[in-house]
């Protein structure tokens, strides 16, 4: 009977990998969807800035502003004159008619007025009026673009010193440093979420589903030890959950540079084999804990629906624990903190990604997680043995 754990695992893998629909929906789709969604969002963000040209209706356009705006090629001016035309343009903008994104009104002789203005004298500064509609994306963008031009113009008037002039490199962070920063901030939480999501997609179905359909009873009348059934289920589901999580992770990582507008290049080459091995250990042990937890809840539930609804609050707690890697004040370094399940995983992952991994804490985390998973197997075994749990209706 020693091979029963393997037999159960083989069956779980066959059940999952031979079911094309399941593989597609839980393994491939999340990764592909995340990649497409994030890439699309990033692309939309970039193209909206790159291609957009603000259509500005302007009165008394100063030459200096026109010249400055022409450098960016982001504004197309249409000049108007007279109060009537201005009121008409503002009205059209207010009514949302196609035509202009913004109406700018400069006072006559704007440049002369600016040159003559003495701030110490305390008089009224020349006023520029920008009419726009903040509820309209194009109008809001036009406002931001023109405001930036005006800010630049204002700064150029009193240019008494420059910060970081020329093309020298002043940001001393390397590409690797940026990668490390992004990985350590975001990835632990993402990994926790993805692992949990992967587990949620399969464990309730595998345990509560089998209970609901009466197929688990067929297994329970065999001489197989309940502990073998529990262990076989937990280990195989952990592997599948990791694969599902990995799919989402790859999708996120590939689309992250696009989501950030291509401004950030993420390079995972900063990490060595040792880092990846530590990460693998932490992820494996974390998956075991999560699967054990979800399996116990699923075994107690009467059906898949009930199991899923019970697991959701646990997922939220897991996400919150994952967020702790983003908050410095919640990052503890004493080994005792690494006995807290899921918190320990998030902290270890953060440590590994920031290249500041503490071997003792990682060892505590892995050992503690394996112990918790062992307790999970024990509890699940007892539940499989309990007729009240397994045959309750």
């Amino acid at each position: 009977m020693k091979s029963n754990v393997i037999t159960v695992m083989k069956k779980e893998f066959t059940r999952f990998f031979m079911d094309r629909r399941m593989v597609l929906t839980t393994l491939l789709m999340p990764g592909i969807m995340i990649y497409l969604l994030y890439s699309f969002m990033g692309q939309g963000f970039v193209s909206s800035h790159e291609d957009y040209q603000a259509r500005v209706c302007v009165q008394n356009l100063p030459e200096s502003i026109e010249a400055m705006a022409a450098q960016g090629e982001a504004i197309v001016f249409s000049e108007i004159s007279g109060e009537q035309e201005r009121e008409q343009a503002v009205k059209e903008l207010e009514e949302g008619e196609e035509g202009y994104d913004l109406v700018a009104v400069f006072p006559e002789g704007f440049e002369e007025q600016v040159a003559a203005y003495d701030m110490s004298a305390g008089g009224q500064a020349p006023a520029v009026e920008l009419y726009y509609n903040s509820a309209n994306t194009d109008s809001q963008s036009a406002y931001s673009i023109l405001l930036e031009v005006l800010d630049t113009y204002e700064s150029s008037l009193a240019n008494k010193f420059d910060v970081n002039p020329g093309e020298n490199v002043y940001d001393l962070a390397t590409e690797e440093d940026m990668s490390v920063q992004i990985f350590s901030m975001m990835v632990p939480m993402l990994l926790m979420v993805f692992l949990f999501s992967g587990c949620m997609a399969i464990a309730p179905e595998s345990i509560a589903g089998e209970k609901e359909r009466g197929t688990i009873a067929t297994l329970l009348v065999t001489p197989m030890k309940r502990s073998h059934l529990a262990l076989g289920k937990i280990v195989s589901l952990s592997v599948i959950a990791i694969l599902c999580g990995f799919s989402s992770f790859v999708g996120t990582m590939l689309s992250l540079p696009k989501l950030m507008g291509g401004e950030v290049s993420i390079n995972a080459n900063v990490y060595g084999i040792q880092d990846y091995l530590m990460l693998l250990l932490v992820i494996l042990s974390t998956a075991l804990v999560i699967v054990a937890l979800v399996s116990i809840v699923s075994a107690y539930a009467k059906n898949v629906k009930e199991a899923t609804s019970w697991v959701t609050p646990i997922m939220i707690v897991s996400m919150l624990l994952g967020v702790t890697s983003m908050v410095d004040s919640l990052c503890m370094t004493e080994p005792v903190w690494f006995l807290i399940p899921l918190y320990n995983s998030a902290q270890c992952m953060s440590g590994i990604f920031s290249l500041e991994a503490d071997m003792v804490n990682i060892a505590v985390t892995v050992v503690a997680n394996i112990c918790y998973a062992g307790v999970g197997v024990f509890v699940l075994t007892k539940m499989f043995d309990s007729e009240k749990v397994m045959f309750s209706k």
Binding site: S3, N4, T7, M18, T215, A217, P223, K225, E387
Partner: protein, 260 residues
């Protein structure tokens, strides 16, 4: 004859939930499903358990199959106690009940191999047995079809075959012909007779009188969780039909509730 299966004074109670109390219109919080029931099945005989729905037949069989534990008493299967060594008992018996379902995603072929592995059947022996049983029940024709796509009769054949994948000496069948068409029911009945000829000890629960008359050596009639009568078929019927005798006994034991 060797006493291969001894049901010793077993009792099983279930808690009744508030919802069930409402449905059953009762204030009782505990239902006695099996009440100090005893009987023995000898090697090579077919023992029939007869009773109405809710009499306690299935609960008795589930205790015999070590799927649930008796509150009191014990079941000894070929010298092994269900209470002390349930896993060992499960290895000695073949158990079939409508409650046990097959995973619909898999094919009969896969399921046979899977359960053979769980029962520790050697690969070669499993291949041989699969060939024999699949031929006998004509499963080979749909051996690679997913259970989800099989008819009720086909599923029952597969369930039956899988329950005896390890060639057990003691076979416990709960309503083996229930819901089957006449042709499939005939195949199952013939197979039970064949198993009897092979010297297997069989316990069958049913409320089909003709099945009992056809295959059983001895019969136990369960009424309200208690063994009302347990005797050989000949002694029990004493010239009458089994159906007649059953209703006589039922009227005698169940009393008013039946006469109403």
């Amino acid at each position: 004859m060797k006493e291969l299966l001894q049901v010793q004074n077993v009792k099983k109670t279930f808690k009744i939930s508030a919802k069930q109390q409402k449905i059953q219109k009762t204030k009782e919080r505990i239902k006695v499903a099996v009440d100090h029931l005893s009987f023995t099945a000898y090697q090579g005989e077919v023992f029939g358990l007869l009773g109405s729905n809710g009499a306690g037949k299935t609960t008795t069989l589930r205790m015999m199959a070590a799927l649930i534990t008796p509150d009191e008493g014990d079941v000894v299967v070929d010298g092994t106690s269900v209470v002390k060594s349930p896993a060992e008992v499960r290895g000695k018996i073949g158990f079939l009940t409508s409650e046990l379902k097959l995973e619909e995603f898999f094919t009969p072929n896969y399921l046979f191999d899977f359960f053979a592995e769980l029962h520790g059947v050697e690969k070669e022996a499993a291949v041989k047995r699969k060939r024999e049983l699949f031929e006998k029940f004509q499963i080979s024709q749909f051996a690679e079809v997913k259970v989800a796509n099989l008819s009720t009769g086909m599923k029952q054949k597969v369930s039956l075959v899988i329950s005896i994948v390890h060639d057990p000496d003691i076979i416990i069948f709960d309503e083996p012909t229930n819901g089957l068409d006449v042709l499939t029911a005939r195949v199952v009945t013939d197979f039970l007779l064949e198993l009897k000829e092979q010297g297997k000890t069989i316990v069958v629960s049913t409320h089909i009188f003709s099945l009992i008359e056809k295959i059983c050596d001895r019969v136990g009639i369960i009424i309200d969780g208690k063994m009302a009568v347990c005797d050989t078929l000949e002694h029990l019927t004493a010239g009458k039909s089994l159906e007649e005798r059953f209703f006589d006994i039922y009227a005698e034991r169940a009393g008013e509730s039946y006469e109403k």
